[in-house]
């Protein structure tokens, strides 16, 4: 058994908070640059230039890319040959979030009671634990902004549904987000599993590189359809409504076909480390 002290996890989480919020993901920045080249709407192009400039200001001056520093979501892959010692794992993660958010001057956007609301805090994070082979711990922090989270959708399709209907549902989810959730978007789609699991898949899909080299056929078809919506950067109209569509699938039941859509704004932020 390899022993990893809880404190080491706390420090790692803290550092990831700053990294995720100050440094825009390279794959996203790359797609933004391509979008800038592609876009022909003058105002939209000017906006994309501002988005790229914003990423540089954030990185250089250590100031959050977006004021909505999100609801912190933490994905943990723990090797089964690891033992966490000298502390409680979940406590270490949440303390790491608080340290990280405080140190990096990020925003306290979390209310403990969703109905009573009340004073907002830095956490707690939503923590997803996964047990894997090996003796390492992989930590990913994904601060999800809520302007785009509010546009999430779930539909429980019949198993006999046509692929065209599924595509229509996904495209319509983006259409209904319109200009509100900071386009150009990155669209995460989860297909299969259960209602709740498809939502998790859609979120995990956003963690995959955007428009990676091996774009699947369905992903590229959806990307084209969404870009024909003419929502455009900032909703100003134009060629680039979406930077990429990522789909995750999972086995599901013979009686159903859950599909979840999780939209991300152009400021898709996440950071990963391995201990």
């Amino acid at each position: 058994m390899r022993e990893i002290p809880a404190d080491k996890i706390r420090v790692a989480v803290s550092n990831l908070c700053a990294k995720a919020n100050f440094s825009l993901r390279k794959d996203v920045l790359q797609q933004l640059r391509l979008a800038y080249k592609k876009e022909t709407n003058k105002k939209a192009k000017k906006f994309l230039a501002a988005v790229i400039a914003n990423a540089f200001v954030a990185e250089k001056e250590k100031i959050a890319i977006c004021q909505d520093t999100g609801l912190p979501i933490v994905f943990l892959e723990i090797g089964q040959d690891v033992r966490i010692v000298r502390g409680d794992l979940k406590q270490a993660i949440n303390k790491g979030i608080e340290d990280g958010y405080r140190k990096a001057y990020l925003r306290n956007s979390i209310v403990l009671d969703p109905l009573a609301r009340g004073v907002s805090k830095f956490g707690p994070a939503i923590i997803h634990l996964d047990l894997v082979k090996g003796k390492k711990i992989k930590i990913t922090i994904f601060p999800k902004g809520f302007g785009c989270e509010n546009k999430s959708q779930l539909k429980m399709f019949k198993p006999t549904v046509s692929i065209e209907e599924i595509k229509k549902f996904i495209v319509e989810a983006v259409r209904s987000a319109g200009a509100d959730a900071c386009p150009p978007y990155i669209v995460g789609v989860g297909i299969g599993g259960t209602a709740d699991y498809s939502g998790l898949l859609a979120k995990k899909a956003l963690l995959k590189p955007v428009a990676g080299i091996k774009i699947r056929k369905l992903e590229s078809e959806l990307l084209k359809m969404i870009n024909r919506l003419n929502i455009g950067p900032m909703g100003l109209g134009g060629k680039v409504t979406c930077l990429g569509v990522n789909i995750e699938t999972a086995p599901t039941h013979i009686a159903g076909l859950p599909v979840s859509v999780n939209i991300s704004c152009h400021a898709l932020r996440s950071a990963t480390t391995e201990l």
Binding site: V51, A64, N108, S109, S120, D180
Partner: protein, 172 residues
């Protein structure tokens, strides 16, 4: 086009949806909970702690100000969530709103009725926009944390007219 706050009808009438403007002067941050409270004050017949006449509200909850900086990241939040509160504030003299995304038909009609204007700020560009803020002062609802009302002084804050006083929207 350069404009200065407070806004008057003459300035507002010149603005057309799609115009790019640089705004200077005082603006006030307020988002969900602050709107709810402001409207509760209005409903109860009490006086607001600051005069809305000719003023501009920015739908923004900035991240914390790093040491040595005036303000943290400070981009706009989704305007639609404030739709149900806007008419009340416009009736009290509010002349401008800054946010991101579309508005309801009711808000659009209210903008026209009260000769006001809705601006779009560069969405998701909070770090960049912080450069245009020259002063920041907390003036109400400290307990709301990032949702407290701040009085900001901005210089050449870049905006696009989203809905003009004639009710025309950039998204049409």
């Amino acid at each position: 086009m350069n404009i200065k706050t407070p806004l008057d009808a003459k300035q507002i009438k010149k603005l057309k949806s799609g115009d790019e403007v640089l705004l200077s002067g005082v603006i006030y941050t307020a988002r969900d909970q602050a709107h709810k409270r402001l409207c509760e004050v209005i409903n109860s017949g009490k006086k607001l702690s600051f005069d809305l006449k000719g003023q501009v509200i920015y739908y923004c909850g900035p991240s914390m100000a790093p040491k040595g900086k005036i303000i943290g990241s400070c981009g706009p939040t989704t305007s639609r969530r404030m739709d149900e509160f806007s008419e009340k504030l416009l009736a009290k003299g509010l002349k401008g709103m800054i946010g991101k995304g579309g508005r309801s038909q009711d808000v659009r009609a209210a903008i026209k009725k009260h000769c006001a204007v809705y601006f779009l700020a560069y969405a998701g560009c909070g770090a960049l926009l912080s450069k245009y803020v020259k002063k920041s002062e907390l003036i109400a609802y400290k307990d709301l944390g990032p949702e407290a009302i701040l009085k900001l002084e901005v210089k050449n804050f870049p905006l696009i007219v989203g809905i003009d006083s004639y009710g025309r929207s950039i998204y049409d």
